[in-house]
Symmetry: C2
Subunit: 427 residues, 2 copies
């Protein structure tokens, strides 16, 4: 048993509470260090969290905790890319303290500058809990797979979105209704924007891209698209065509550049990501010569995320600090590509709602033929009493630009009653 | 970039060749140390392996490589639990050299004594490649999950068996024929015994059990059962009942004891392990409060296994040695339970071949009723021209002892023409 690690825990939301519970029950764990919480900080001192924090020094001000002489490790669970989280993490690192954080926004947006401070001070900056909750993917990619060349890393990194997409198919309910249900079940925040906009998944994939490719994280270059314009029609029609819609976060390396994006994507029903349902996360790692690895598990929640924080804390006594992104910041390449999405060739799912009158299908066909986009599959559902027929198309492979030009044409058809949908088909 | 690590590589089979290739192309990888192979050893110096080893010192004798002054890391890829592998690993550790090995038999059978030497000498003994090939499960369990209490770890740890079971279902071919096909494709050895007997998976689960539960590995207490008595009838009938047969390797902790075994097991078709097909490995980790994690990927082969060796080598410059099994050998508990299998309560799959004459089904029913085993599902296939009817039963939950007593009774029925089959149903 090496020396005791003294923790200062800032933030006592779900994850903070989970961490306190684990530390309080540490004698049942396989740790090689004794952990001691010396101080905590949170917004409310009196809120009942179901844990006893009376033995810890209470700090109204997280900054005083980050700088306290008796704190070896500052555990930042405040959240947000700016403000108190950033200020205290910077200060703790500058003061020569190790930092463990679950803050994906902070690491994705300011990871490089923070890693520089950590390097300068020779301290650990660890963030396993920032990506995929309890799934230990950060260490797997950064350390275990440092001896292989990764080509692509992709996955389902937002459990809220995956729950919503799964539930829309299972229940047939529209988006707004399912979001409300997700909120009732605790899977979605009161303001679900960070999740459904793709922002949360985008933060996570930027971090994974950095460690997988030795790239300087540059969040401004992540193309972010969420699920907030996915309709129950999209879910139903894509299902009829043999697909599942997933919000995929992906980073691909080719030609010395890393393309990093989040986007709703169609997967064949037997694809590993199509099989991931509910609030689960899954990460696919494709590399040479390792092949394809899949890591799946609970991507959020008190227990899983606190487990990841504990895994990082356990790392601290295993040796001196290593570069937070795997290689020194001076060796991180500035290779995130501009987020144009240009040149991406794929098959595409197109959904349109067209007034049910003669000649409509011919207009649609003309729009496709005019852009030289050929149709692999097409289904038209009955218009019924609405007078509007939902049509879904699976195209053969074409570029994103071409597919987008088709969508623009369809949108201007006289028969078109709402904005048509365009979603990439992965496999 | 820290100091150069000088490697001595003993064994130039698939994995050794894969490792040499990775080291020779190291500038494309995310390593923080420069790697240099100073010497190699193998049975044949002249065999064409498709790699250039002329720049490395050739050692006819692996022992001289393990002890060479210019070797920092002895990479043992010879294999086998005794003989040269064991002698050289012991000698290298005693000489104060780090050891990286892919040798599951060695670690499962002698891991504790080797870890003691490594501890005494303050050197690393790493064996990620010994379990699940390219899937970085050893580090995940030992390090990333050291802060959670693992309840159960199970999985498909032998790709050969999984290929055979998958292919028997897909092709409808009998066991012997599929084994031959696996040998042609390179998925099975000329002597497939280590794989099909369950021995290989048993070595791997003993290692995982040790690191997951802080247990002293005791291979003598692993209950080992393979797939060599699984018939095409078992495959077909279990499939008709909604199950897939998998060779599962499992370690469960309860009541302070660890039960560790391999056994053919039935899984419902939508269970994560039923979805694992072909020569893939998958590991399920269930813990509190992390929930269930699944790690899937290629479990063998040159590239994946060499990747795992590289991941371990990359660890060497990240800090001083940590206990090979996560906690010091003095803290490893002697908690592997006797391999009785007693007391295990489960539902069971029973298959019998009974002569097609009146009263046969009544005799079978009597055998079940006599042991108070009730039937959940039963199917009887047509006897056709053979005059023998295959019957498969899914029982309600009962103990292994009870199920085995039923099997004994069925075996002695006058109508029984061969040994009946008994397989546990997991879910």
């Amino acid at each position: 048993m090496s020396k005791t690690l003294r923790l200062g825990v800032a933030g006592l939301g779900n994850v903070g509470v989970g961490l306190v519970k684990l530390v309080q029950g540490q004698e049942t764990l396989r740790l090689t260090s004794k952990l001691e919480i010396v101080g905590v900080s949170a917004r409310s001192r009196t809120r009942d969290r179901g844990i006893d924090i009376s033995g810890y020094r209470w700090c109204d001000d997280a900054m005083s905790l980050a700088l306290a002489d008796d704190v070896d490790v500052y555990v930042e669970l405040i959240g947000g890319s700016e403000g108190l989280a950033k200020q205290t993490v910077e200060a703790a690192l500058e003061a020569g303290k190790h930092v463990v954080t679950a803050n994906k926004a902070l690491i994705a947006e300011h990871g490089c500058e923070l890693a520089k401070i950590a390097e300068k001070k020779g301290v650990h900056l660890l963030f396993e809990a920032a990506v995929a909750g309890g799934v230990p993917v950060v260490r797997a990619v950064r350390d275990s797979l440092s001896g292989v060349r990764i080509d692509r890393i992709s996955g389902i990194l937002n459990g809220t979105c995956n729950y919503i997409l799964t539930e829309m198919l299972d229940s047939g309910s529209p988006y707004e209704q399912v979001v409300k249900q997700a909120q009732r079940l605790g899977y979605a925040e009161a303001d679900p924007w960070l999740d459904v906009s793709g922002m949360d998944a985008a933060h996570k994939i930027a971090i994974l891209a950095a460690i997988a490719f030795g790239a300087a994280p540059d969040f401004s270059k992540v193309r972010v698209k969420g699920i907030n314009d996915i309709t129950d029609q999209d879910i139903l029609l894509s299902s009829k065509l043999g697909y599942r819609i997933r919000l995929v976060a992906e980073a691909v390396q080719s030609g010395g550049k890393v393309r990093c994006f989040t986007a709703p994507t169609l997967f064949a029903t037997d694809h590993p990501l199509a099989l991931v349902t509910g609030p689960t996360n899954a990460v696919l790692i494709e590399g040479d010569p390792v092949g394809r690895l899949t890591l799946t598990g609970p991507g959020a929640g008190e227990g899983p995320t606190a487990s990841a924080v504990m895994g990082d804390i356990a790392r601290l006594n295993q040796g001196p600090a290593t570069p937070p992104f795997g290689v020194n910041t001076s060796g991180l390449d500035d290779i995130f590509a501009e987020p144009t999405g240009e040149g991406m060739v794929s098959r595409w799912f197109i959904r349109a709602n067209l007034a049910d009158r003669s000649g409509t299908l011919a207009q649609l066909s003309d729009a496709l033929a005019g852009a030289r986009v050929s149709v692999d599959k097409l289904i038209q559902d009955s218009a019924g009493e609405t007078g509007v027929a939902p049509i879904a198309i699976v195209t053969h492979a074409c570029s994103r630009n071409t597919a987008e030009s088709v969508i623009e044409k369809i949108a201007t058809l006289p028969a078109s009653v709402d904005a048509p949908q365009l979603i990439r088909i992965e496999a």
